[in-house]
Every structure is written in structure tokens, then in C-alpha cells.
Assembly symmetry: C2
Amino acid sequence: MGKNGRMARVQPLSGFPEWTPQERLVEAHVIATLRDVFSLHGFGEIETRVVEPVERLAGDSDASKEIYAIGRLNADEQAGREAKLGLHFDLTVPFARYVEENQGRLQFPFRRFQIQKVWRGERPQEGRFREFYQADIDVVGRDRLPEHLEAEVAIVMARALAALPLPPARMHLNNRGLVEGFYRGVGIVDVAGALRSVDKLDKIGPEGVTEELHGKGVSAEAIHAILELAAIQTPDSSFVDLVEALWDHSPIVEGADEARAQFEAGARSLAVLVDAVNAAVPECAIADLRIARGLDYYTGAVYETLLEGHEDLGSICSGGRYDSLIAGGGFPGVGMSIGVSRLVSRMLGAGLATASRAVPQAVLVAVTDEEHRAASSAIADRLRARGIPTEVSPNAAKFGKQIQYADRRGIPFVWFPDAGDGTSLDGEVKDIRSGEQTPADADAWAPPTEDLNPRIVRG
Amino acid sequence: MGKNGRMARVQPLSGFPEWTPQERLVEAHVIATLRDVFSLHGFGEIETRVVEPVERLAGDSDASKEIYAIGRLNADEQAGREAKLGLHFDLTVPFARYVEENQGRLQFPFRRFQIQKVWRGERPQEGRFREFYQADIDVVGRDRLPEHLEAEVAIVMARALAALPLPPARMHLNNRGLVEGFYRGVGIVDVAGALRSVDKLDKIGPEGVTEELHGKGVSAEAIHAILELAAIQTPDSSFVDLVEALWDHSPIVEGADEARAQFEAGARSLAVLVDAVNAAVPECAIADLRIARGLDYYTGAVYETLLEGHEDLGSICSGGRYDSLIAGGGFPGVGMSIGVSRLVSRMLGAGLATASRAVPQAVLVAVTDEEHRAASSAIADRLRARGIPTEVSPNAAKFGKQIQYADRRGIPFVWFPDAGDGTSLDGEVKDIRSGEQTPADADAWAPPTEDLNPRIVRG
């Protein structure tokens, strides 16, 4: 605008990714694909406002420590009376508030998906995004939620990931009841604290976890047992025998009947889950007793997802079952969340997907001279009427220059209008890649299907 | 999550609209329609981060007085060294920065669209949104920009609006050069100041404008002349004779040759614009010499758009031509912006559009008993494989209850699997609106096209 006078040269903001138009086509494709798969499985979309009262955002998770607060720059006394607001750092907290606020208007179980940006003020040097898209699905019941929905959300997400230009994804599944029952069985009192330590296994290794748990007063035998549990991983329900044998050989405390029942119910539930996911999406699911998820509120299935060959990304799709979405209780649910921007960033960075061209238009209609621009526009409109994205050349330069204009943008076809009186809808169309030029009628010609719109090409 | 204990009952935040899933379908339809029309005309999409340095956002517009600043809640010294950031209040400022930052990688003229939320901390009691979607198109050239693009952006926007479930839109067009030339001709020195006063004509009336201009030292004769200019409105280029006659009868100052030339060039340009828009979209455009637009940076065409029968909304789609998008100059452009959320809010509030159902799924596959759930899932997957959005009943209640479940959500069809051994893909499908029930094969049956996905129904 020039309205602020000359400024210092602009600098990208670390952690706030922006794509070129060609890259944005990949991101838009990912979002559209997720929307299609979620809708096909009967999930409806909502969007929530991006701000929540700060006291609703505050909590124990790492993300809640990195809240961006917002306030009006030119605040007056009115502003001072308003609630302090922050940008949401995930889509679960706003979804919980949405359900609480609209509970009288929603039908339960409520199946929703939500694809929006979230913000976390993480240190930029960690190479993590501060602004990124998440895509969440959740099913929330009223008072009860059937266990088979734990498999359903995993299957929907597995299919969504399979529909994207990505290598195979493996879902690592666990059950919070199984783990809690076992931990209680070996005498651990602060189960949540122990889970948070085990959740760091990848980062700090068994030695680090041992040290942490020792510091929390956990006995060496118990630490040994829970590290043995965390090492169990099977591609099917055969883990059940392994965990039961482990229980039998572990230092179980007196009076652990209730813990044992919780452990067994969790093992049964996880076995059903792993088999159900693999039945629907073969070789997708793994029972992985290491999966802890740092968040306190999970009570059943917990999920993480690794991408083959891109394990360094960490989990690209995580979630779990929780007892209640809202503070008052009564809304049990299960959900999973995809970190869309990190996936898109990897797709682009690793060449997993590119758009076949940078612009939507398949055709540039050349302009013979400015007096005959209307003829070119009429041809373009006939093409558009049949769904063919078309641009009219912005100038009436020599045809060679107009071809160059198309070439630089990746527009595959250039249409040359009939000379004549400038009212004809006929002309010649040139595929500027092959050089082939053929007569064409604006009411009949169409580009080959693969050239109609930019395609997403797998790398 | 229950993680924060029981809280006060949640309250909607004034100015931050949220839709139900059924309403969101209307908003998503609007956004998808805009994206389609823009792409069909050769505009490519970008998204920009939602934050900009505050000093880039600051300026003279009303919007820039209502910036939301953001900062990390738990700021450390690192945060103190970071630039102060604010949420963007429009899509022009970030687009300008994007072009400046990526100028070496973009092809000019650069045609882009952008559909994102923006934030303005306006007083909620004014009934205006603080968070809302905008949809912008701009074409930005390098050093030059042909005038015919002023017509093209208007035509694209007129077609986009015509594709939405709205009554007819009328575009009110003016030309900044015409107005400036005239104002200078009658001796006004502070043209921008006078424009800002005339821009309030609708709000404060001719008396209010007269008072303001008088206060700015404008002569009574000049005020009379510019109010006469503002009263001219024609549905075609016939305004040219009227403004020329007005010039001839106005108190023109000495040595106004340059002003006269600017005035005449502007009039010619506006005449071409009005005729071109009406040729492409009949009866859409009106030359309206009252249109001023408060923003300083417009230099050619300026646009406002009123919706028939909903003039109280004010302009739903505005913009103009500007000399340079960026501070250093050299990037002339033209663009228009639709206030999407206000439009959607009106569509919903006035019943202009509703979704035919609240959920994406066309079919609920009933479950005979939990042992045969897999058979129902197999049927659902066959339907989904052919693009039919389907849900499997979450419970195996009596069929009457399962039909009720579908009915409450607006799912039109319920599929009853064949009893038998639970592996059959046959069954019966019931249209629960008519009660008609027919045998069906999961590999062949499809709902009528109009029931496949939720439709947007015009009110």
C-alpha cells in the first residue's frame, strides 16, 4: 500500500510456514481429502472460534504452557472488563467448550471433524511450527460410548492417511486400563506421574526413565517390570499372552485384585481394537505397550501413528479415549488428531507430492490485439462454462511472448482466436509442451482430463 | 477434559460466530463455490500466516485501530526480543508482505485468491463480527497493470456472488481519478480528507458532510458541486455527459487543466469499466459517483456492492485499484474483497439458504446384534467405496430405535442387513421419509443423486 512509508525488508517469521501457490495446492489437496474421507464415514464438520478464555486453555499439557494471549492494542476501559483471551493450541479444548455450550442442540453420539489452524508459542529454534493446521475427528456420547467406536475412529484415520500421498502409516495402539492396572499391580501409586516418565522413553531412553522413576520413589523391581511391559509390541492380539505371562512373573503387591481386573479388561479391549483395525486396514495396527500419551485424561484406547521411513517426525496422528469431554462429566468420547502442517511440510520437503502446475488455469486465450480482447474473453467464457479453468492473456504482445507467459506459469494450452472479424468462437489450440497445434471450437474442445486441473503427483 | 475442575457455565463470546454442523455446511458451500469460481478464472490460492508485525498493521484505516496484539502468556527473555505481533485485520496487508517477500519467486501479473479469517477488536455492541472470513482476489503487476483488469476482477466477483444463494448483487463503480480531478478542479486541496467526508454520506447525510467539509475550510460552492457529483448515478456510461455538464457549470479554479485531464481520463476509464462489467454480467454494474472508499491508496477504479433487499448490510464486496501494493512502489494492482461471514450470517438468519440435512451421511446401516456388527460394517464399506457417505449404527437397539436415530439426524436411508449368516451384502433399504422399503445389494444400490450429499437449498 505504501501507506506506511518505506520499511525494513520483510523477514519470514520463524515457525509460521507459508507456501507458494503451487505448494498450497498440495496443502489444499490434503485438507480436501481428509474432509472427503471424514464425510464419507459420517462425520460432520464444525469450526470453532480461534480464541478461548485463558483459564480454559491453562492446564498440564506442554501445549498449554505455550499459549499466545491476545488483547486489543488500543484497549480502553471496555476491554479491561473483558475476559482474557488466548489462541487455541489444539482443537480439543474448543471442541469441549462447543459441546458444553451446544449440548441441548446436538445429537449424541456426536460425530464431528474439525480442520483448523492452531497456535503454540514454542521456541522457533526447535524447528517446530508455531502456527499449523490440525485435523481432528471425535465421537462423543452422552453418558455412554460403545467401545467399538475406539476401532472406528482409528479405521477412519487409517483410511484418511492411506488416501494421502504418503508412505504407509503404522498405528501403535495401547490401552490405558491395561497399563494402569499393571502399574497399580506392581505397587505404583502415582500412575499418572509414571506414565509421563514412560512417555519420554524415546527421548531419554530406559536409563533416563529409570532415573526419573527412581526419583519418584518407584522400586527397582517395579521399574524393571514396567520397562518390560513397555517393550512388548505385537502386530496382532498375541500380546495378550505376553502381558499375562509378564504379570505372573512380576512383583505384584498384595490385594491387587481390582488392578488385575482393570489390567485384564484393558488387554481384552486392546486385543479387540488391534484385530478390528487390522481387519479393516490390513497390517496397519500394532499393539505397542510403550504408548503412554502424556495427557492425564485418557482412560481407554490410546493411539500414536508413525510414518514408514519418516519416523523422525514422531507421531503424525494421535489420540485416545477419555471419560468426559467436559468438566461436569457425562460426555465420554474418543478422538484422534492429525498434525496436517507437519505432514504437508514433509510431503513438500521430501518430494512426496507436488502439484503438476502452479496455477489453476489449463488454458491461456491469446489476444490478437486490444481491439479484439472481447473475442478472447468470449472464448474463455465458453471454456469456463464447461468447467475449464481459463485466463485471457493480460496483454496483446506477439504470440511468442504470450506463449512464454503461459510457459512460465505452467499453463499447458494456448488458444489462438480466429483472425476474421473477432466474433468467432473457433481458433487453434496449442499444447505448448508438445508444440502440437490443432483447430478447435470453444464450445467443444476440452483438454485431456489429466490436464484439466492441477494434479497432485506422488513423488 | 475435566482437567480444570468444574467451571462457570460457558458463555458465547460476542462477535465470534460459531455455526452448528448444519449451518457450517452452508458456510463451507460458500467457500467452496468462491474457490471454484476464482480457480475457473485463473486465480491461484495462497494462505498467509495470521500474524504480522504490529508496525506493519498500523495505519489510517478504521480496521487498523482495532488490532488484536498477541504475545506469549509465559514470556521469557527470548520473547522480549521478538517483534510485537498482531492478528491481521484484512487480507491485503499480509498479501502485500507476501508479495514483497516472495517477489523473486512469483510471476507477474500475479493473480491470487485468499480465503481466511481476519480479526478486528470492534465493540461487540455494534453487532459486528470480531472474527470473520474474508475472500479476496487481486491481480498485481510489476511496474504496470493493464486497465482491463479493473473490469476482470469485478466480473469475476460478480459471477462469484451470482453463484451463491443470494438475491442479485449490484456493483456500484466509481473512479478515483475522476473524483480527484473534479475535487481539484473546484479548488479542494485536501482531496483525501474530502473523500473521507463524502464516504460518510450514507451515515451522516448531505448536511453532515457539508458541516464536515465546511469545518475543513471547503467553500460552500465547492461543497455544493461535490455533493452534486456524488448524486450522479447511471446504469451505464451515460454518466459521462452528466459529469461533463456538471464540470462546465461548477466553480472551477484557475489553471485546472491538469485536474481536467485527470477528470476526463477517469471518466473514460469508468465508462469502459461499467460497460465491460454489464456486457459480461447484464445489469450488474452502476456508475455511482458517490462511491469514495475511505482508504487513501486507491488510484483508479473503486467498487462497492449492495445486495438487493439487503442494503442494510452495507457493501458486501469492495475494493479498488492501487498504485503499489508495497512501500517501495512498483507493484500496481487491483483487488476486491467479500465479507464472507456477514454474508453467511445473513443467508442463515434470513433463510436464504439451508443445508438439506445436518450430517453428511446418506445411509445408516442398522446393526442386528453386536455379534453381527462386522456384517454391517462390510456393507457400509461397500457403499462408501462408491462414494456414498454412510454410518454404521452405534448400537444394536430395536430397529425402531435405530430408525429414530437416523430420523433425528436427518439421515434419509436406513439399511437393514440380511438376517442369514451375517456375511451377506444384501439387505433391505428404507427411505424413512416415505416409509418405502426395497431389497438392495450393497454393491449396486445408490440413493437418488439429490440425497447423496447434503444439498444447499435456496430459501
